[in-house]
Assembly symmetry: C2
Homo-oligomer: 344 residues x 2
DNA sequence: TAGAAATATGGTAGCGCTAACATGGTAGCG
DNA sequence: CGCTACCATGTTAGCGCTACCATATTTCTA
């Protein structure tokens, strides 16, 4: 029969980008040598390497990293999972991670949980599907299934922000102690009637931990520690509203301990507008140590958290682990610093 | 011979994670059916689909997205390239992109150029190597090689922030016009002696464009438009320093037009500390419309740029393009809004 | 100078998945 | 009833790269 079934090759090149094979042909070497010239240059002869690099230029080769990852079963991705991009705190941690990792040739895969641990779980699955080299996630609270994935994935996992019972590596600070620290400062200053103001402690549970520390210290001094939770997103507006709420519900309050500097600064600026004298009429304290607080008059008393450092340290721990140098301490306390301004 | 060369299969499973094949076996179907059950559920029988999903649960399958991308020649990555993570402006654009893309099942691959277009070029290469579905990059300035890559990659490319001669899609605002707008406002208010203060215009060239607009309007009114460039990173500190520089170099200045709100707010807070009356002793204007400016007394006159919206619009354009619905306008002006406070 | 060790390169076989084509069964229609 | 149309599923062949092993050549060592 003249019309035989020709099992014609089914070509389905993804694109018409040149491949490593074409580079190899252009350089007159095998594909594997071309691969080595690009990835482990010390394992090929210098002149060969030059020929390959030249061929890369000539044909306009862009390595297909997807194929490389599949073949080598590792990518150069670092999964970074944060609860929010609206909070400077996480941005700065990301910056620390990003700077360190990018310098070592790793890419950040950014995920945002919106404070939902189910979403965290889904993101972890996705990122593991990308064979990421390591994962960084904010906080110690996860769904059970997510914990399983993280424990069994056999990759470095860093939980950042707070300290505690971690899955693998842990870089953060002790929020309860930070709360205690500020409360002690307030007592030293002679304040007795405090109010702690926070937003959404179900989401920002670290704020709740700081409140716990605060309350503990006041309780030890035989004092009450009233608490107000605002039902709006954190920000300067919320801080202003918080101050109003305090003046309404606790007219005799001497000092307001805000869960973060955005709230505290909002309150401070609002106090200015209302013509209240800070700290004489009402004292104000915050948490985070944002630059803004140090520019307002009076300067805000707050606690500086080393956010960018936290990101850098986390990245360093991971890099060390990936280099297979054992990581000495699995838990790293980055500490904090009380900044005393004139607002208390 | 009893000791034949057994060409033993060299197994080199990347991990001991279950694969789709194992899921398929557990469900009693072929691999491709399992694949379809997960990716195109409408193409399999409902009961089959259920069996597959159940098998996925049972064996604890996590899809290998790297393999999937290689086979299908597309990933669900969107490359996002920004010059800095220290600037709220880019963060908010990223937030807009992130929210929209994550809702459609795309992952953000984040790159930071640190205002270096060579680094941008390298990032573009890397991201193309990951078969990203689309690229978003800040600004219209690229190296020639980078332009080539972007033009020839046959993927949606959006240049955000400013408007102009774009490679593909373009979402942004007219910075020169924003500069003009503020300058006109200042003239209307009766100010004649202005100073424009900026930082690193070689990097933040959009600030330079705003200055161009500012100068143009003043020149049309026959007025000089002195300019001061600070050599420190933008921030409240720099704003304070900027105000000092102006008072030193231009003691008769009536108004300072700052390149952004961080600088302007820093100056405003510094003026408070110095006991200067704003706007009577010196008026202050900014750009961006950050919340901070609206909380300071007097409120900052500034221009609100729709940053998160810019990200969202860019994402929508890309999604439409990926769905192959032709995108009507390739250039999208998101506009801006003059916010008049009491600082001018 | 033989033998070991190091260096440089190549051939082959996958990595885990999906596109393309093939097949068998059921429904629709004149 | 024969035809097409469609649906559900399977078979095969890659996607582009690198791990693993093998081989050839050079250098070093005893």
């Amino acid at each position: 029969m003249s019309n035989q079934e020709i099992p014609r090759t089914r070509r389905r090149r993804g694109s018409d980008q040149p491949t490593l094979k074409e580079v190899a042909e252009a350089a007159g070497v095998s594909a594997i040598t071309a691969s080595r010239a690009l990835n482990t240059p010390e394992r090929v002869n210098e002149t060969t390497r030059q020929r390959v690099l030249e061929a890369v230029e000539r044909v306009g080769y862009v390595p297909n990293l997807v194929a490389g990852s599949l073949a080598s079963a590792r990518s150069r991705f670092i999964a970074v999972i944060v609860p929010s991009l609206s909070n400077t705190v996480f941005i700065e941690v990301i910056r620390g991670l990003q700077t360190t990792f990018e310098a070592h040739g790793y890419q950040i895969l950014l995920g945002n949980t919106d404070y939902d641990i189910e979403r965290e779980h889904r993101l972890v699955r996705t990122f593991l599907g990308w064979s990421c080299s390591a994962l960084v996630t904010a906080g110690l609270r996860h769904t059970a299934a997510c914990r399983d994935l993280l424990v069994n994935c056999d990759k470095p996992v860093v939980e950042v922000m707070e300290l505690g019972e971690a899955l693998d590596l842990n870089v953060g600070l002790d929020h309860r102690e930070a709360g205690r620290c500020m409360a002690r400062h307030l007592l030293e200053r002679g304040y007795r009637r405090t109010v702690f103001v926070s937003v959404g402690t179900d989401r920002d549970y670290r704020a709740a931990m700081r409140y716990d520390g605060h309350r503990e210290v006041l309780a030890a001094a035989g004092l009450d520690a009233p608490f107000i939770e605002l039902d709006q997103p954190s920000g300067l507006d919320a801080g202003a509203a918080g101050l109003d709420r305090v003046r309404d519900a606790h007219p005799a309050a001497e000092v307001v301990h805000f869960a973060n500097d955005d709230l505290a600064a909002g309150a401070l600026l609002h106090a200015q507008r209302l013509g209240l004298r800070v700290p004489d009429d009402i004292a104000i304290a915050g948490f985070n140590g944002l630059p803004l607080g140090q520019h307002i008059t009076p300067r805000l008393t707050t606690i500086r958290s080393p956010r960018e450092t936290m990101g850098r340290r986390a990245a360093e721990q991971i890099l060390r682990r990936l280099d297979d140098k054992r990581v000495s301490r699995r838990q790293l306390d980055v500490g904090f610093e009380l900044l005393v301004g004139e607002s208390t």
